[in-house]
Amino acid sequence: MIEERTTPKSWASMLRISKSHIQTYLICPRKFYFQYVIGAEMEFIPPSMVFGGVLHEAVAFFYRAFQQHGQRPELSDVIAEFRACWEKETTGRQIGFTESTGKGNFEGLGMALLKAFYEGVRPRSVEAVEYPFCVPIYEPDSGGKLDFSLVGVIDLIESDDEGNLIISELKTASKRMADSQGENQLDGLVYAYALDELGFRTTDSRTLIRYDVLVKTKAVGFQQVYFNKEPGDYRRLGRWIKDVLEAINRAAFYPNFGWACKQCPFRKACWSL
């Protein structure tokens, strides 16, 4: 079991950047502005955001139960957890459900995805569930420590029979994850770097990431894809973060009109500027 060294509560008073910050900025700098700089109220809550969060809750419930009792909980308990969370998160909130993607549709999809997950997953030894981290970031050229910390929460850390660690990240996707897509995912890179900074690796220099993908195709599916990350990747991440931070610090909040606008909770505010 890996002991926690930070709590998300303590992050408020730090200069920090997270995977979500970086990802949001890369998708649309203006969305970043609305969401993180001025804290604008969302015009509606995207259903996919709530749905993803609730699925994470249910899967975390599965792993916590496994960690505590050394055996899987019943599928019915996992689904009951999902339904309870779904009800709680969708009641009384202005969620942007549509006719074709209503509350019931999501609930049915969630149960089917969890069933696929339950049947497909083979958990190892659970070291940590929803593990928070806060690690330093370095200037990629000089190696000097930046004022900012990298913060986040890793979905799951497992270990094999020899105690080697594996990071696992749950994702929902509309199609199966291709190798090229997985290799470029920010999540695994950020988490592997964080774990490396904390002194944990799978081997001497590498860290293994596994994406557990809940595939929302007509016939739902569950896919596990593995990637390794190593120091060269971390240098690349360092430069990436530095570039994003510099752009943010220079208030470069231009819009990136495109596919993400349709589901953007700041669309009206953005388009009326």
């Binding site: 200069l15 993180y36 004022d147």
Partner: protein, 206 residues
């Protein structure tokens, strides 16, 4: 009341700088410039009274009242007691009280809008009220070397002072949103300085 003149940004040559309590640099206006502005705005028809004063161990505090155009604004002013290095004796309590009164006058004048722009962005192109959310930038207007994003030390100071005043994180977020239209992490250095100054001298948040 001529608000336009009262709130008109001071010329950069009139803006002085001093070191703040948290290693940051604070802008300020000298008393004479404030008096000059009041004279211009009210044609000399204004009055300042000291309603009360206190002498504490290390500082003197003055409660002042500024009246103009039949409107009065009250504020406290303070000054550290100046002591001789040699024997720690007080050099001139009168001068300290005068400094506190000037501080009080400046604070009262701020309530009329004088020098208010100093709490917002640097007055490069005239004043720009920042209480309402501004349009997002394009990256070209903000030079981080002069007034970039707040430092880690400033952010830490904001939350530390807020905690000592029983403010929750939510209180801090709401406060900076109301004051500058931004969440705390994205304040500029000047804005963070203004928040620190306000929190350091403000009332408890019950």
């Amino acid at each position: 009341m001529n608000r336009e003149l009262l709130e008109k940004p001071f010329d950069p040559s009139q803006i002085k700088q001093r070191k703040g309590s948290f290693g940051d640099v604070l802008d300020y206006i000298e008393g004479a410039s404030v008096i000059q502005r009041l004279n211009e705005a009210f044609n000399g028809d204004w009055m300042f009274e000291v309603l009360d004063h206190h002498v504490y161990d290390d500082e003197v505090v003055v409660l002042g009242k500024l009246t103009a155009a039949q409107i009065s604004k009250c504020q406290f002013g303070k000054s550290k007691i100046t002591r001789a290095t040699k024997d720690n004796s007080i050099i001139s309590l009168g001068d300290d009280l005068k400094a506190a009164a000037t501080d009080s006058l400046k604070k009262c004048a701020t309530l009329f809008g004088v020098g208010l722009h100093l709490y917002f962005d640097p007055p490069k192109n005239g004043s720009q009220p920042a209480a309402a959310p501004r349009s997002p930038g394009n990256g070209g207007s903000n030079d981080p070397s002069t007034d970039g994003r707040l430092t880690a030390k400033q952010l830490s100071a904001i939350f530390s002072i807020a905690k000592s005043k029983n403010w929750s994180n939510k209180d801090v977020r709401e406060f900076t949103q109301e004051m500058f239209g931004k969440l705390p992490d994205f304040l500029s250095r000047k804005e963070a300085s203004a928040v620190i100054t306000h929190l350091s001298g403000g009332q408890t948040h019950d």
